[in-house]
Amino acid sequence: MRPPFSLPRRALLLATLSAPALLTAGPAAAAANVAESFVDENIHKGLDILRDKKLSITQRRDQFETLLLGLVDVRRIGLFTLGQYRRTAPPEDVEAFLNAFKNYATAAYQSYFARYTNQTLKVTGSTQRSPTDFIVQTQLIDPSSSQQPSEVDFRVRTDTGKPVLVDVAYQGIWLSLEERDQFVAFLGQNNGNVRTLIAHLSELAVNLGKPTQ
């Protein structure tokens, strides 16, 4: 015959054994939820701005830029895209590059997202790469098309406690990786001269801000 305290003791033992797992899984799951909510709320805000027909072109650009600069760690991305030239370029050139990159990235992001304003974004899950590095998976659904939804992933870092966006991938193609490959190749073709890249980025930012023909 079983002693009357058998069940509570087992429950206690189970709870004791599973406690470390719960303690580690709890914050990880919560952090993943934070990353998912961050993407869900803010990408919708961004798409809403781009969809708002009442805004003038300048108002739309300014509002989108303000939102974007609050969400994206432009400095971290900019330094990454410089590749090995980050270490060899003069510090003042790196700072000037980061400023030019901010303008270019804002114009480029606005140009990319403006193509999808008639579509809806749905968060489908997330993957944790490290305690502060998450990939949030989403689907971009075009209500007017019978085609399969496009997969868009957002890389979110939470190193400072506040989530920030560091990269975005469309159908598995990461934007920051592509930018780094371009910038490093461009610098290789131009004797590593970061100022040439700055001039080129500034010109592109202006062109991207113009309406398409």
Binding site: T127, Q137, Q171, G172, D181, Q182, V184, L187, G188, L204
Partner: protein, 242 residues
């Protein structure tokens, strides 16, 4: 995929041999692109073909063929590729995907009137791509240096070899047609037209926002191929730390 591609691949080998230039830069070597200068020249050549031959025809294609017709052509070409996709699914051990490919081929070739319509997608049997270059990658073959092929664009030795194997296993190339070259060239031409019509805006966007269009394409091609080889699975995705 088809016979005409063999000719292009032969031409590309000749072109690379002819364009052999001085030693590659450290950046080119680091990017696994030792033939960078020859590749850049080939991209310029392809760009001229695109600008003066392909794009004007794409314009005519848009004017002369209504959207429904263009969709039909797209579906038909996709259906022709399904036997090759099925074989590659099997060679990769992807039995579930192979089953889907076979289902699509059966449904679309019959109810879809030879593949012009896509009723399979409407009942949830969606399509996917697969080729022998991807099969080689799944078997562990490395991609090799980056190449830009004449007319065909970004590639590498593994994917170029894959194209030839796909051409050899394509059932339509076994049909003993007297004028087989016309069938092959016609199919190739419409594939190019369909692809360019579908990617017109995307490529325009890349050209407009690129600091260096050549290296942008190289990066996009490699990332896209890796995604295709993984079949969209997120696990194993190798991302750098920021």
């Amino acid at each position: 995929m088809r016979g005409v591609r063999g000719l292009f691949l032969g031409l590309s080998a000749l072109a690379l041999a002819g364009c052999a230039t001085g030693p590659a830069s450290p950046e080119a070597l680091a990017a696994n692109d030792p033939y960078e200068q020859a590749n850049r020249d080939m991209l310029k050549f392809n760009g001229k073909i695109d600008k003066y031959v392909v794009i004007p025809t794409v314009g005519l294609y848009f004017i002369l063929v209504p959207e429904g017709g263009r969709r039909g052509v797209h579906n038909f070409l996709g259906n022709l590729s399904l036997p090759t996709i099925f074989v590659n699914d099997m060679l990769q051990g992807e039995l579930s995907r192979a089953g889907k490919s076979m289902w699509r081929l059966t449904i679309n070739s019959t109810i879809g009137l030879g593949g012009f319509f896509d009723p399979a997608s409407k009942i949830g049997v969606s399509g996917h791509g697969e080729d022998f270059g991807q099969t080689l990658a799944v078997w562990g073959v490395k991609e090799g240096p980056y190449l830009v092929l004449p007319f065909l664009g970004p590639s590498n030795p593994r994917d170029a070899a894959g194209l030839m194997v796909d051409a050899a296993m394509d059932p339509t190339n076994q049909i003993p047609l007297k004028q087989h070259i016309w069938w092959s060239a016609g199919r190739e031409y419409f594939t190019l037209l369909d692809l360019r019509a579908q990617t017109y805006q995307t490529i325009q966007g890349i050209q407009r926002s690129s600091v260096d269009y050549y290296s942008s394409l190289r990066s996009l091609y490699r990332q896209l191929r890796n995604e295709q080889i993984r079949n969209g699975r997120k696990q194993g995705q190798d991302l750098p730390d920021f």
